[in-house]
Symmetry: C2
Subunit: 321 residues, 2 copies
């Protein structure tokens, strides 16, 4: 079976661990978000791709959910001694080697998709991990914190400001001119099932869909498309998705996110082509309705691998595969 | 008193520690060798500048003599896991932060001399450290190891091959078009005494002198010029200077190096303008003569700070300052 998933960081990566466990024989392709990518200290950092790669490759920090296990932060501490910022990004030493390799390969002219494949050669994540685009796309956030209205990088808003300053808008810079990376559209078109894990609907899934052609491919695929709600009982399971949803005028609820994604047939999503055939919500959200979408309620807390496998199975069942 | 010194790495840095202790009130300018500089993993690395900066700033590894105290090598180990080489360069985590800052500043358009001053703002080495040039100069070594005659970077010859493959030639690539960094010629012209520490005569002192204008400035300064022999009793005190001397056809002896440097007056050095008024050799080399140069023999092993201070005092005495 060919499974394709769009994925952000921690939530997506954990869900994918469940996909691998539920379907050990499946051919899984992950289209990773690169809107979080940032260049710091002249290092090309792709946090979401790395979170998926490390999580599925056995290198993730179990405690933090991002970055490497047994991580140290010597280089970051030294940079701080030099007074060289920013200091709000968690730049681990082990992680830094990944960024050095990526940066060198990009500088040498390799596309991000080729670089990602090279990094995965070490990590063997057991899935094919493709960035949404080889073109640079950066999520910026428009804020007004009293020092004037301006756009800052998503990472600065998320990490330094902890999303506490309201986002007036969230913009996918570069997306309009970006092309899907090689293999992205085929992986969507040729999938037996397409999954939207419980990733951030705005800055993860939304970022991927901002690349022209991807949303249309999701609409056109013969595969059933099932999403898993990242919102349980009116709040985000992890992260600060509510601050992102507020920026795009969507309520923090499983129903509102389902309607925002919209139905692939008949009714459309807020941004044009709708995405969903099925929408898996938590039992706390039983009774939610999304026009044109089959909604099923199951426990959605990914407390451990078994729970995650059960969620994946429910999604596959909802997809009818 | 204004003291100016040309310096390579470990030997030069230790000698300079003696200069600071012997002359705590002096205004010391160090013209640092950058011929050892190398770009690895897209990091601009200046080993000799860093060795001087760390040694005088209290950050050097006492055990190794290069790199940082309490160093770890996490990033290097990870790069090796990725199969990304080379692995023969000692790239420490603490040290790497210095390279990151330098690389970012160079990329931003700052000259290496400005970058060095910025790094020294943290380390406060107590001397003014100026690179020999803001232009890129790299020492390359012509070898023939059976895989064909070719030029490799000095660091590869020194660290990977441990200078065991004979150097057919040692070339200062880029030197012909390089200009002395701002302050270099003035520091030589305005010095009360100019010292040549016991650094490698070929790839440290020789590299500095390969920048057009520096050798001439040494010849023209009103200051006395005194060199300290890095060769004691026919062998290099540290490092593999003999392999470098062999490449330029100079015997590994205090006398041969003194004659290679040559007298500032009358007799000239092997490469044109001679350099020395005085030549300090070890007591093991008493009796050495260099035409036109006053030669004095004193114990030259820098076994500890006191011994080093005594060497510096002997050099100053020989200079008559």
């Amino acid at each position: 079976m060919k499974v394709t998933a769009l994925a952000g960081g921690i939530g997506g990566a954990r869900f994918l661990r469940g996909v691998k466990a539920a379907l050990p024989e499946a051919d899984v392709t992950v289209i990773g978000n690169t809107g979080d990518d940032i260049i710091l200290h002249r290092l090309n950092i792709s946090p979401d791709l790395d979170t998926v790669m490390y999580t599925l490759g056995g290198g993730i920090s179990a405690e933090r959910g991002w970055g490497r296990e047994d991580e140290t932060f010597t280089v970051a501490a030294e940079l701080k001694e030099y007074g060289v910022g920013p200091d709000w990004f968690g730049l681990g030493d082990r992680d830094l080697a990944t960024h050095l390799v990526r940066t060198q390969m990009l500088e040498a002219g390799y596309a991000l998709s080729a670089v990602t494949a090279a990094l995965c050669h070490r990590w063997q994540p057991g899935v094919r991990l493709i960035p949404m685009s080889d073109d640079r796309v950066e999520t910026h956030v428009v804020i007004d914190d009293g020092q004037g209205r301006r756009a800052i990088h998503f990472q600065e808003w998320w990490l330094r400001l902890r999303a506490e300053v309201p986002a007036e808008a969230i913009v996918s810079v570069g997306a309009a001119d970006a092309k899907p990376a090689p293999g992205v559209l085929d992986a969507i078109a040729e999938a037996d099932v397409l999954l939207l894990p419980p990733s951030n609907p705005v800055v993860s899934i939304g970022s991927i869909l901002s690349v022209p052609g991807i949303r249309e491919a999701v609409g056109a695929t013969a595969a059933p498309v099932v999403g898993v709600s990242p919102i349980i009982g009116g709040s985000a399971v992890r992260g600060m998705a509510d601050a992102c949803l507020r920026a795009i005028g969507v309520e923090t609820s499983a129903e509102a996110v389902g309607r925002h994604y919209g139905s692939r047939e008949g009714a459309h999503g807020a941004e044009g082509q709708g995405l969903l055939d099925g929408w898996l919500v938590d039992t706390a959200d039983a009774g939610v309705t999304v026009p044109g979408v089959r909604v099923v309620a199951r426990p959605l807390l990914m407390t451990d691998l078994d729970a995650t496998v059960a969620i994946v199975r429910a999604a596959l069942e909802l997809a009818g595969v």
